[in-house]
Amino acid sequence: MNQFKKGIEDIRALRLSDEEKRNIHAHIMSLPLPSPYTHTLLIVFSRSWASYSIASILIIVLVGGSAAVAAEQSVPGDILYPIKIKITEPARDLLIQEPANYARWESEKASRRLEEATTLAERNELTPERSRDIEERFQEHAREAAEAFTALALANGTSTAYDVEKEFDGSLAEHERSLHTVSKRNEEKTEKDTSSLEKKIKEVRSKFREDESRSRSERDRKEGERDTDVSDHNGSPRQERDSVKKVEEEDEGNESGPDTRKQEETENNLKNAVKKN
């Protein structure tokens, strides 16, 4: 135990030399005195973890926010375009949860690529490389949109999915027209670049139409089966409606019949009474 105490005393004997102490002290005292307002005015330069966090968030919000807003308007070839494609749009992917909104967003992304193509074509800057890049992205978004429509149909029913799909088809048709108009206006080179993209739009639209007609026929078939099942027991809805109408008419007839007869009887009674008198 004495050895243990001696060991602790020996550790405590571990010291700096006087010269080392003086050097460190002198160095600290030679430092410029910090302003008492430093931590309130310049929070960014404070060394605490919280200050760094606040400063980082502010920088991201101010710089990143304005960059993100500017990036939304960018087209392929712009410096901020990668931010739009790789940061802002994937960020929105994560934020959207509701199936209908997600399907709309997926179709909007495809429309955005077409808008970019139109803008570039208007500027006569739609090079073959950019056109190919946009085509690839458009096809990818169209595929994702188709998946989102399927998911929406399963979640919210086919009618909601059909509405969103119809909106998308309308948007595609509009973009197809505007792209065609711009390419006609521009020189032949540009027209050649957009024609491929227009072809892709047509393909996507025709595919959606096929899917739509398939799903509609499927829906009709299912409804037909349901109607048949019901008619086995109670008749089809139309037959049911007809029969209800018939019964109502009969009821009306029955209701009006006794009244008429009663009135005739009353009139006859009155005539007989007059004759007797």
Partner: protein, 184 residues
């Protein structure tokens, strides 16, 4: 409080604490020059806070806590931790560091007894190590240690008690207990 009073108070505090802080850092960081740098940076940070008029409840605890963070930073830069070491970390503990691992390669000369004591302390579970060292060697109070380690005084007392019990077992003063010590 004017600047001359602050300077005097800081100088007195420096004179009183610099050796203890040097020990604390030197036993964890091998290179003497790096030890001097950490000691200087730690006191400089405290001086800045003093001049700015920041509220400092326990200056001694703040000093050790600041030094501890700087040592952890030094370890991070020196040797990246393996996944195994990271997963073995105790909850609430920032990073493990081992005095014996480094002081042997430094220019700091220790007696056999001092080396044995440090070896025993280092052999303790990581959650007891710092609390026992600061209590035994620097004679800090549980309240001060709790400020350094970022935990409660009660928790520190438990760590010290259990750590000392383990030390006694290692020294053969008490028979080893059957039950494994639970982490605090």
């Amino acid at each position: 409080m004017d600047i001359s009073t602050k300077t005097q108070q800081f100088s007195d505090f420096y004179e009183h604490e610099v050796d203890a802080l040097f020990r604390y850092v030197a036993l964890r960081v091998g290179n003497r020059d790096e030890v001097m740098d950490i000691v200087q940076e730690t006191f400089s940070a405290l001086w800045e806070k003093t001049v700015r008029g920041d509220t400092i409840n326990i200056p001694r605890a703040l000093l050790y806590a600041s030094a501890r963070n700087k040592i952890i930073d030094w370890y991070r830069k020196k040797k990246p931790l393996s996944l195994e070491q990271m997963t073995e970390r105790e909850e609430g503990e920032k990073l493990p560091f081992d005095p014996v691992d480094t002081f042997a390669e430094s220019r700091i000369i220790l007696s056999i007894e001092a080396t044995q004591v440090l070896t025993l302390i280092t052999a303790l579970p990581s959650q007891y190590r710092d609390a026992v060292y600061l209590r035994l060697v620097e004679e800090m109070l549980p309240q001060e240690i709790s400020e350094v380690l970022g935990t409660t005084a009660g928790n520190v007392s438990v760590r010290i008690t259990r750590g000392l019990a383990l030390l006694r077992e290692q020294l053969g003063l008490t028979p080893p207990r059957q039950k494994k010590h639970e982490s605090v």
